[in-house]
Amino acid sequence: MFSLLQEAATTAVEHSEEVAEHGAEAAGQAVDAAAHGAEAASGAGMPQLDFSTFPNQIFWLVVTMLVLYWVLSRVALPRIAAVLSDRQGAITGDLMAAEEFKQKAKDAEAAYDAALAEARSEAQKIVAANRAEIQKQLDAAIADADAEIAARTVESEKRIGEIRASALADSQSVARDVTAELVRVFGGNADQGQIDGAVDSRLKGVQQ
């Protein structure tokens, strides 16, 4: 790009020499340039080197730059800076709020966990209490049942003993009667007391 400029500049210089050499051609060039509305006398074809337009360009440049500087420094840049700092502030605020909410959520979670643990221990306590209660009732019921069983056992044994005793007595009287009858049948006349004694002595051996 730069070399092109140099080339252009060189061409312009050569051209101006040419202009000096050939007056007629130079006049033609001047007419041509004038037709395009430029005072190409000193520029010699390169408008950038036409010094007669410099004051104009510099004047308008200075005006433009002053206006531009005024607009930017008074209006545009402070506004954008304010917007950017607002945004930064909003972002920071939001992040802080988010952090706060996060902390709150953590607290809530901790509270929830604590409540849960408490409820669990409470439940366990209640379960244990109930279990103890039930155990107690169960124990009492078992004791009652045992006592009932013991009482019934005793009663039953008593009745069994009675039955056994009555059975013994029955068998004794039956044995005595049978023995007395047998003695009588065989023609013996035995004393009732003798028979009873013999039967009893025999029965003792059996009962043993």
């Binding site: 400029l5 510099i58 420094s73 506004r79």
Partner: protein
């Protein structure tokens, strides 16, 4: 430069697009005459105001498209100034922003067909560069006093070399406005002239497709150049400002 090839009907006037002419009538160009320079600088001004004043009038926390672009430009230049010159350079941010916007809009608007590119004129870029050069030098002396001359005295070099380096540094310092302005004007002028030359060839039916393709390609390149040159001008201004604020290597 108005090379005419009468025989083939080809006409090349690649430099005519740069001619400064009065808007009204054909009189001489006085310093106050409204010219096409005035017109296009006015258009630049309107565009900047449209983008940066009307575009941001909503002052929205969530920006619309135009405001986003304005903020993007603001952010880019602001970051550039801060990165290159440091915090104390931000005082001069409005001026640098002003330069960037003026040059960027001038370059981009100059790419419109029939447009006049004010930054293709050495008079314009020269004044901009000189303004930067003078203000930077003044800032350097006001902020640092004679210590500013330390910019030319390379203390990290061997003592014997320092005077030679000082001469080179002084020359390079004074060449700054020249390179600063010619880089911009030269790039713009050359690019536009080349497009015009290619466009001139379109008169020949045989080469016109090639010529048009070349114009399109050059145009794309020129869009890039238009932005890059505005960026380069701005970042160099920042670099010069940094030298003024923090002399010494």
């Amino acid at each position: 430069m108005a090379t005419e090839a009468e025989g083939t009907g080809l006409e090349f006037h690649p430099m005519n697009q740069f001619i400064v002419k009065p808007l009204f009538g054909d009189g001489p160009v006085q310093w106050y005459t409204p010219t096409n320079v005035t017109l296009w600088m006015g258009i630049i001004l309107l565009c900047v105001v449209g983008l940066f004043v009307f575009g941001t009038r909503g002052r929205a926390i969530v920006p619309n498209r135009v405001q986003s672009i304005a903020e993007l430009g603001y952010g880019m230049v602001h970051k550039m100034v801060e990165d290159v010159t440091g915090k104390d350079g931000l005082k001069y941010f409005p001026y640098i922003m002003c330069l960037f916007l003026f040059i960027a809009f001038a370059n981009m608007l100059g790419l419109l067909p029939k447009a006049f590119t004010v930054t293709s004129h050495i008079a314009v870029t020269g004044v901009l560069a000189l303004a930067v050069f003078i203000s930077v030098t003044v800032i350097g002396f006001v902020k640092n006093g004679t210590h500013f001359l330390g910019l030319f005295w390379v203390t990290s070099a061997p003592l014997a070399l320092r005077p030679i380096l000082a001469i080179i540094e002084v020359i390079s310092y004074f060449v700054r406005p020249v390179s600063h302005s010619i880089r911009l004007a030269g790039n713009l002028m050359a690019g536009h002239a080349v497009i015009k030359v290619f466009a001139g060839f379109a008169a020949i039916a045989l080469v016109s497709p090639l010529s048009i393709a070349a114009v399109v390609a050059m145009y794309g390149l020129e869009v890039l150049v238009a932005f890059i040159q505005a960026y380069v001008f701005t970042i160099l201004t920042c670099v010069y400002l940094k030298d003024a604020l923090h002399p010494g290597h």
